[in-house]
Assembly symmetry: C2
Homo-oligomer: 341 residues x 2
C-alpha cells in the first residue's frame, strides 16, 4: 500500500473565538483544549502516517514553524488564500501520484485519535481503489451549520458510496435528515490519491488545476519550504474542494468516523469539547467560580471570578474582555469591528 | 445661628465593590457615579456650609488630600480605626462647642444635593435646640441591611422625635415596618451641636470621651492636619455613634430626607444609583453591549463586550475580573481571599 500523507490546511481568519483567537493568531495555534495547541494535536494524531505537508499562508508561517517541533513536515506557503481546492492541488502536485492524501483541517478537535487513525486507514484503502473519500461525522443534532452526506451503497466493510451532498440545510430539513437516518456531517476531512484528485480536478475545474500547475512549475524551494509563484496562483479560482471536486465526481465515498469530533466553531462547541467539572464548568487560566453551572472561562492572565451564573462565557485576552451567553457568542460579529481586531 | 460644620468620615475597607474598590483605594475615592469621586461629591454637597473637618486614617490621607482640591478642610488623622463614636468625638473636641456638626459618611451617593442641604438646615435648627438629629432616609423596600428609625411626636415642621431605634431587622419585621408606616432608614447622617454631643457621650460612654480627650490633648498640629496621640486613642472603645449615643439619649430626633440616597453598598445598588440607558444598562469605561438588559459594566481600561445577558455585573480592575449576577455580588466574600486584596 502506498504511503498515507497528511495534508494539513492551516489558516483561517480567527473570528468566531474572538477575542482569544485573532487574525494574527487564529484558532489552530492556541492551546484551547489541554496543553497542546489545536495544530499540535492535529500533527500528533497524524503521526502514525508519513511526514505531513502543511499548506499555510505567510501570515501564519511563524506559528506553524514554531509549533512543528521535530516534525519533518514539508511546508507550502500560499501566496494568498484561494480556498481549499487550490490549496489541496498545491500539495497534490508536490506529491507522488500514488500517495494517499489525508486532507485535514488544522482547527478541529478530535477526542479519539485512535478512531481517527482507524477511519483514516479505511479511507486510504478506498482511496487506493480510486475513491474520493469524505469522513462522515456522526450527526448528533439538527445542525444547520454543516453540510450533510447521505450514505449510499456499502463498499465492503470500509464505507459507503456518497449518495448525495447536501449544502447547509435549514432546521426543518436538518431535523428530517436526523429522523430519516443515514446522514453524516461533512467534516472537511478527505482521503484520495494525489493522481485521482488531480484527474478529477482536471475534469471538473481545469482552470484551477492550470493555475496551480503553473504556480508550482514557477515555484521556489527554500529548505523545507516551498513558495508557489504568486502571480500564477492568483489566477486560481477561490473555490472549495467540495464544490470543485467532491460534489461533482462520480467516485465519492464516505467513511463513517465516530471520533468525538468538534470543529470548535463557537465558544459553545469549545465548551462541549473540553473537560468539564461536576457543575459543567470549564476553565482555562486563573479563575474562581462560585455557584456557577455550565460556565466557560478563558483568561490569558488576569484572575476571573464568576458568581451565580449559568451558561455564560467569559474570555479575557489582552485588552479585550468578552462576556456572553453561550447563544450570544454567535453574535460576536455584531460588535463594532471587534472580530476584525 | 451658629455655623454648620460638615464632619466627613472617610475610611472603609473596600470589600463590597471589589475588585473596583480595594483596601488601598476604597469606594469614596473612586468616580463610581459621574465624573466626581464619591468623596468629591460629598464635599460638593457640603459646600453651602462651613469648611469641613475630614476624619480619616493614614492609609487614605493621600487620597483625601489629592481630592480635597481647593477646599480649606481641617484633616484629623485617626491613629487607628476606632469606629464612629471616637471619630466624631475627635472632631467635636476640635470645634467650638456651639458649632453644629453635620456628620456625613463619605461613601454615600445623594442624587438630590438641594434636598440634602434643605434637610441639613432643618436638622441644624433642631440641633440648635439641643436635639441629636438623625437623617431619616425614605424606606423604599423591606431592607434588612439597615437600621430603622420610628417617628414619634412632630417637632414643629422641622422633624420628629425618634420614638425608637431598631437594629437591622429580619425580613418579616422589615416588611411589617413598611406596612405600618412611620419608619425611616438610619442613613448614618447626623446633626448635633459639638457641646451637646460631648455631653451625651460623657453621660453614656465616658470611657470613649476620656480616651479621645487625652488623645486630642496630647495631639500634634501639622498645618491643616491634626494627629491625635496614638496610644491614648488606642484606649477608646470601638463603638458606633448609634450604640454609644443616639440610641441612649433622650433627645434623639429625626429629619425626613428625601434626597435620592444610596449607600452604594453593593454592585446592585450602584447600578440603581447610576444613570441607565433605555435597556437599563450602565457603563463606566470602554464597553459595547449587544442584546443586554440591566447590565452593569465597570472597566479601568480593557474594552468589555457583553452579549445576550440580563442582570449581570462585569468589573475589570487591574488583574482582576469579576463577572456576577446582581444577587451573586453579595457573595464576593466567598471568593478565596479576593475581597482582601
Amino acid at each position: 500500500m502506498s504511503q498515507i500523507v497528511p495534508v494539513i490546511l492551516c489558516g483561517g481568519s480567527g473570528t468566531r473565538l474572538w477575542p482569544r483567537s485573532r487574525a494574527s493568531k487564529p484558532k489552530p495555534f492556541l492551546p484551547l483544549i489541554g496543553e497542546q495547541t489545536i495544530f499540535e494535536a492535529t500533527l500528533a494524531r497524524c503521526a502514525p502516517f508519513a511526514a505531513p505537508v502543511v499548506v499555510t499562508g505567510a501570515a501564519h508561517l511563524e506559528h506553524v514553524e514554531a509549533q512543528l517541533g521535530a516534525s519533518e513536515a514539508a511546508i507550502i506557503i500560499e501566496p494568498q488564500a484561494r480556498n481549499t481546492a487550490a490549496a489541496i492541488a498545491l500539495a497534490a502536485l508536490r506529491l507522488p501520484g500514488d500517495a494517499v492524501m489525508l486532507v485535514c483541517p488544522s482547527d478541529h478537535h478530535i477526542g479519539d485519535p485512535q478512531a481517527f487513525a482507524d477511519a483514516a486507514r479505511k479511507a486510504a484503502a478506498l482511496a487506493q481503489e480510486g475513491w474520493l473519500v469524505s469522513f462522515g461525522i456522526e450527526a448528533t443534532g439538527p445542525e444547520t451549520g454543516y453540510g450533510y452526506l447521505k450514505r449510499g451503497e456499502a463498499l465492503g466493510d470500509l464505507g459507503f458510496r456518497t449518495a448525495r451532498f447536501v449544502e447547509k440545510p435549514d432546521l426543518e430539513r436538518a431535523t428530517a435528515f436526523l429522523a430519516e437516518g443515514g446522514y453524516d456531517w461533512n467534516g472537511g476531512i478527505f482521503a484520495f490519491r494525489a493522481a485521482t484528485f488531480l484527474e478529477e480536478l482536471e475534469a471538473h475545474c481545469p482552470g484551477v488545476l492550470g493555475s496551480v500547475w503553473a504556480a508550482v512549475a514557477a515555484g521556489r524551494e527554500e529548505g523545507a519550504r516551498f513558495h508557489p509563484d504568486a502571480s500564477a496562483f492568483a489566477g486560481a479560482e477561490a473555490i472549495s474542494v467540495d464544490y470543485a471536486v467532491m460534489e461533482r465526481t462520480t467516485h465519492a465515498a464516505l467513511v463513517p468516523a465516530r471520533m468525538d469530533w468538534s470543529d470548535i466553531g463557537s465558544w459553545e462547541s469549545l465548551h462541549m469539547a473540553r473537560k468539564r467539572d461536576a457543575q459543567g464548568n470549564s476553565v482555562n487560566g486563573r479563575a474562581e467560580l462560585v455557584d456557577c453551572q455550565g460556565v466557560l472561562v478563558e483568561s490569558d492572565g488576569p484572575r476571573v471570578s464568576v458568581i451565580g451564573l449559568e451558561g455564560v462565557v467569559v474570555v479575557v485576552d489582552g485588552d479585550e474582555v468578552l462576556v456572553t451567553s453561550m447563544d450570544g457568542a454567535q453574535k460576536v460579529g455584531k460588535l463594532g469591528g471587534a472580530a476584525n481586531q
